[in-house]
């Protein structure tokens, strides 16, 4: 076990409401546009959502027919973007399929398939799902790692990490462990969550859905919009990628709030510990950071707690922004989105703005970037905080 070595984050892909692929994502971010659109559910709930266009048209390989559901179509769309599946093929040829693991974060997996099955008129008759229903392949929480592994032909260990909105950030922690123990040379790490009624009506029941669009860190913020996204990255031991992306996973901070199932700790203790632990793991001081990609969901309590945590760890002067007004809150995929956006910020030398937010809440202290601007970015902290008080921060660095 080599505890000193930082794994490299190599080729990435992201599909979200911002667009298909890294270049489309950056173009939308650079224009300061939002991918959110008004949406009305079949049951009449009106809200904004970040929908990915083209998911309906994805056709899965025939051998994976039983896996067909929106969540896996979204995953497949991402795997076929930015040359990602070809990159994995090259790694398999070099190292063998057994040396490559899969760790995927998701919150609701393919639950929309089961929601639809409960609405099917046949369910009212039998009061049970038919034995032929592909629960294991579509909706079970492990299904998206199972699908990704089969789709890419990998044979290393596979996990789904499901810790609500911190899922795919914590997936990077598991990926790093697989590399440091020598079990894997490379790991496909990602996050996938797709639109479903459970999360739309669930966040509505908690009073956390924005009436129109989310406005993170603004004084009149009134909640989140839900988005869907799939993002993947190759995490690899040093030297494996050769000319990789040049981004390193320097630190991980992982904590629990131990306070409440949905409300953040009022003194932001869990968030502070996650951010401080990521900085300590990287060996960085707060002033070393060029940018913090906020969790920044746009709810009153979450943004206030995150702002407090940033001040407490001494990062009040660090530029911060939230992209949730552009992508929506992609829940279990939020960490994978943040890593891809951090990569783009480093690649382009560009700090994204806080889409939809016109002015910072005067009660908050962070150095909020409202409009995207050119600025060298080398060291980034990303935050993810989820239900159950589940926090994870990642410290990422680009080669000088």
């Amino acid at each position: 076990m080599d505890r000193s070595t930082a794994p490299e984050i190599g080729p990435l892909t992201l599909v979200s409401a911002l667009g298909r692929g890294l270049d489309a994502t950056f173009a939308t971010l650079a224009r300061g546009e939002s991918g959110l659109k008004p949406h009305t559910t079949a049951g009449g709930l009106v809200c904004a959502v970040g929908r990915v266009s083209g998911v309906e048209d994805v056709v899965l390989p025939r051998i994976l027919a039983r896996y067909d559901c929106r969540n896996h179509r979204l995953a497949a769309l991402a795997l076929e973007t930015d040359g990602f599946s070809e990159t994995v093929e090259r790694l398999v040829r070099t190292f063998g399929a057994g040396q490559i693991g899969v760790v995927v974060g998701t919150s609701t997996s393919g639950i929309a398939k089961t929601e639809a099955a409960y609405r099917d008129p046949a369910f009212a008759v039998t009061d049970a799902l038919p034995a032929s229903f592909p629960y294991r392949e579509t909706h079970n929480v492990f299904a998206c790692a199972d699908f990704t592994r089969r789709y890419l032909g990998l044979k290393g260990p596979a996990f789904v990490i499901s810790t609500a909105c911190s899922s795919s950030a914590k997936a990077f922690a598991t990926g790093r462990r697989l590399i440091r123990t020598g079990i894997c040379r490379a790991v496909v790490v990602g996050g996938v969550d797709s639109l479903c009624d459970t999360t739309l009506y669930g966040f509505q029941s908690l009073g956390l859905l924005a009436a129109k669009s989310p406005r993170p860190f603004s004084a009149d913020r009134d909640g989140i919009a839900i988005g869907e996204a799939a993002g993947f990255a190759i995490l690899a031991a040093p030297g494996v990628l050769g000319d990789g992306g040049g981004m390193w996973l320097r630190g991980i901070g992982d904590s629990a709030d131990a306070y409440h199932m949905t409300a953040p700790h009022p003194e932001a203790l869990g968030a502070c510990e996650a951010m401080s632990a990521a900085l300590a793991d990287a060996g960085w001081r707060p002033s070393d950071l060029d940018y913090i990609h906020l969790h920044g969901t746009g709810t009153l309590a979450n943004d206030a707690a995150e702002d407090l945590a940033i001040a407490k760890i001494g990062c009040h002067a660090t530029p911060v922004s939230s992209t949730k007004g552009a992508t929506g809150h992609t829940l279990g995929a939020a960490g994978a989105c943040a890593v891809a956006i951090a990569h783009l910020a480093m690649r382009e030398g560009f700090i994204p703005g806080t889409t939809n937010t016109l002015a910072r809440d005067p009660l908050l202290q962070s150095a909020l970037v409202l409009q995207g601007r050119l600025s060298p970015v080398r060291r980034v902290l990303i935050n993810t905080f989820g239900f159950g008080g589940s926090n994870c921060s990642l410290a990422l660095e680009r080669d000088a």
Partner: protein, 275 residues
């Protein structure tokens, strides 16, 4: 790689706690899969206890057993929660609510539906902000959780694995054949604990060895009836206190291989569970 198992927690049909379960696995007592003790959600305030779902009650119960056996403080211990399917009772209630207009979800059932709700209740009950993760690998979730706990403890603090699954409600029974409730906790550490323990040398490897099972037919049936009960060959090796190789399948292509051996000088009958 090496690790020490410092504590076990257990709850399943005919296995009221780790002490009773280990005696049965040593063959000192007959296995009678009869009464099932109700799990205890110790440490929660009344309002949290009222909202705490059955899956979390099982996890809290066995986790507390193993933590006590190891003599550890929760705040110093990382946790891994592993389940093949999460809480299907909550899923069933939510899907029924979403299928029937006017649609309204219960906020409590919604936040309890996340896979890591169990971890959230653990943190609140034990007042622990320590690192935690929640994962799944379907029927191989015990092996996956144990691999994660071994990796975490190999790189830092001791780690408590809690694995659990419950039978689904009738609407989901045709698609998820878990027939009995079962929960297990295993406390692992890199450094040799002061308390009684066993040594485990472990590796993940491509699939080439025969999967471990149990010779007693009723215990073997239990092993196959719940993903968390896939732990039983490991628990039997720990209980018997002899050097034993345990092979846990992990997906079709891999295995977690565990060579369990008693610590020299240790009385094989010294329990590593609460008595």
């Amino acid at each position: 790689m090496k690790a020490f198992i410092a504590g076990i927690g257990l709850l399943g049909p005919g296995l009221a706690n780790a002490s009773e379960g280990m005696a049965i696995l040593r063959g000192e007592r007959a296995y009678q899969p009869t009464a099932l003790r109700a799990p205890e959600a110790r440490g929660l305030a009344a309002n949290e206890a009222r909202r705490c779902p059955m899956s979390a009650r099982y996890a809290l119960d066995v986790g507390y057993q193993a933590l006590n056996a190891a003599g550890w403080t929760a705040a110093e211990v990382a946790t891994v929660f592993s389940s093949g399917s999460g809480d299907l009772d909550i899923l069933d209630k939510n899907c029924r609510a979403l299928a029937r207009p006017p649609i309204a979800l219960s906020p409590t059932l919604f936040h309890n539906s996340v896979h890591n709700a169990v971890a959230g209740y653990w943190g609140i009950a034990r007042q622990s902000r320590a690192a935690t993760t929640s994962l799944s690998a379907y029927d191989d979730s015990f092996a996956a959780g144990l691999l994660e706990a071994l990796m975490i403890s190999g790189d830092g603090p001791p780690c408590l694995l809690v694995a659990y699954d419950l039978p689904p409600p009738s609407a989901l029974a045709p698609v998820r054949p878990v027939t009995v409730p079962f929960a297990v906790a295993v406390a692992v550490s890199r450094d040799r604990p002061l308390t009684p323990c066993v040594l485990v040398e472990w590796e993940w490897r491509p699939c080439d060895l025969t999967e471990s099972g149990l010779s007693a037919p009723d215990l073997e049936a239990l092993r196959l009836a719940n993903p968390a009960a896939r732990c039983l060959p490991l628990l039997q090796a720990v209980a018997q206190g002899a050097s034993t190789r345990v092979v846990l399948p992990y997906l079709v292509d891999g295995q977690l291989v565990l060579d369990v051996s008693p610590i020299a000088g240790r009385n094989a009958n010294t329990p590593i569970h609460e008595t």
